[in-house]
Every structure is written in C-alpha cells, then in structure tokens.
C-alpha cells in the first residue's frame, strides 16, 4: 500500500511562493502522483498530476525527482483564497485496479 507523508500545516503570506512536499517511498512503477485542494464544506478538487520531472499548469507546478520517492507542489504568489487543505495521492495498484488513498493533508493558511 503506497503511503504518503505530508506536513500537517504551513503558514504563508500573500504574494509568496509556497512549496509543499510529500513523501511516498513505496511508490510503484505505474503510479501517478496527484494533488487535490479542499476548501471547507466542499469535496476535494483536482489541482495537478504528474509521473516524473516537472509538470506545470495555470494553477501550480509539480516537481518530481528521478527516484519519485517524493514530490513538491509549488503554488506561485499565493493569495488568501489559497487557504485550504492540500492532499497528495499516489495510485495503489491492487488486483488490477487503482485505489487512491488520501494522506493526512497539509493545512495551508495564507495571511495578509
């Protein structure tokens, strides 16, 4: 079972870059790494997904080293609205199907 470890919480200020690192030492060859964002009273929302190296979209960047045992979500110039819980997921191949297991999540608080 691929398990992830993230910091419980992080604090930042508006306009700063935030990097959240997730450890996944037992990641399997075919697993992808996916990050979700969750606001209060809402279900999680997909942010970004990657397999190796670097992926960038309009919201964030995802950095994955060659050994893939960790990944870093980078949020450029955060705003107050980025205050949320961020989850790192790694696919778990079991009997031919994937079961995505959420980690503890990182609670990001952005202050003025």
């Amino acid at each position: 079972l691929a398990k992830t470890t993230q910091p419980i919480s992080m604090d930042s200020y508006e306009g700063q870059e935030v990097n959240i690192t997730c450890s996944h030492n037992n990641i399997a060859t075919n697993d992808y790494i996916t990050w979700y964002q969750q606001f209060p009273s809402q279900g999680p929302r997909f942010i970004i997904q990657g397999y190796k190296t670097k992926v960038t979209n309009e919201v964030a960047s995802l950095f994955i080293p060659a050994d893939r045992k960790s990944s870093t979500l980078s949020l450029p110039r955060v705003s107050l609205s980025d205050t949320a819980v961020y989850y790192c997921l790694v696919g778990d191949d079991n009997t031919g199907f994937q079961k995505l297991v959420f980690g503890t999540g990182t609670r990001l608080l952005v202050s003025p």
């Binding site: 075919n30 697993d31 992808y32 996916t34 979700y36 009273s41 809402q42 279900g43 999680p44 929302r45 997909f46 997904q49 397999y51 819980v85 989850y87 696919g91 191949d93 079991n94 009997t95 031919g96 199907f97 994937q98 079961k99 995505l100 297991v101 959420f102 980690g103 503890t104 999540g105």
Partner: protein
C-alpha cells in the same frame, strides 16, 4: 448533471436508526468511491466500485456499513443502527478509469452529505 451529485446534503438522525446516502456520479464514469471525513480530519477510504462490482471493501468500518451500485450509475451507502461515531461528512467521487501500462486517475468529488447522529 455536469458534476457528482450527493443527497441529502445534510442528514440528522437518531442513534440506532438506519440511513441511506445517495451518489449520482458523472455520466459515463465507471469508477466510484466513497470516503468519510470526520471534522478536522483527512479523508478515510470506505469502498470502491468498478462498474457495479466492489473489488475493494476493505475500508468499511463495520458490518453496519454497506454499499451498492446499480446500472453503473447511482450508488447508495447504507449505515444501519447508526452510532454517534458515524457522524461525519460522507464524500462520493467518480472517475473515468483508463487502464494500461501507465495509469492516471482524476477523481471528481461531490459536496458530500453531512451526517449527524444524535
């Protein structure tokens, strides 16, 4: 609808009663997941459906919990003889599974059902 729909959005029940929670996934999505989220906690996996079958029921916390899915669409999570510890938000997600040598899956979540057991 365009997204995952869950009903009811809120449910208050008395201890010992049975409850049914419903999830309407995005049309065409073959995979469906149920998660539980207690206040201030992360997501706890309950059960996963591929089509109408559930290859993984390992997350169901007790035999009071059951789930079914019909027509590769709607799913119902049933909790029998509810206990106060069952109070939580129950989240449903669906995805369009793409199998192959490399695999990626994106989950689309509903807004959840807030269950309160008095």
């Amino acid at each position: 609808g365009a997204g995952v729909s869950q009903s009811p959005s809120n449910k208050v029940t008395e201890k010992g009663k049975d409850v049914e929670l419903r999830c309407d996934p995005i049309s065409g999505h073959t995979a469906l997941y149920w998660y539980r989220q207690r206040l201030g906690q992360g997501l706890e996996f309950l059960i996963y459906f591929q089509g109408n079958s559930a290859p993984d029921k390992s997350g169901l916390p007790s035999d009071r919990f059951s789930a079914e899915r019909t027509g590769e669409s709607v799913s119902t999570l049933t909790i029998q003889r509810t206990q106060q510890e069952d109070s939580a938000v129950y989240l449903c997600a669906s995805s369009s599974v793409r199998r192959g040598m490399t695999y990626s899956e994106k989950l689309f979540f509903g807004s959840g059902t807030q269950l309160s057991v008095l």
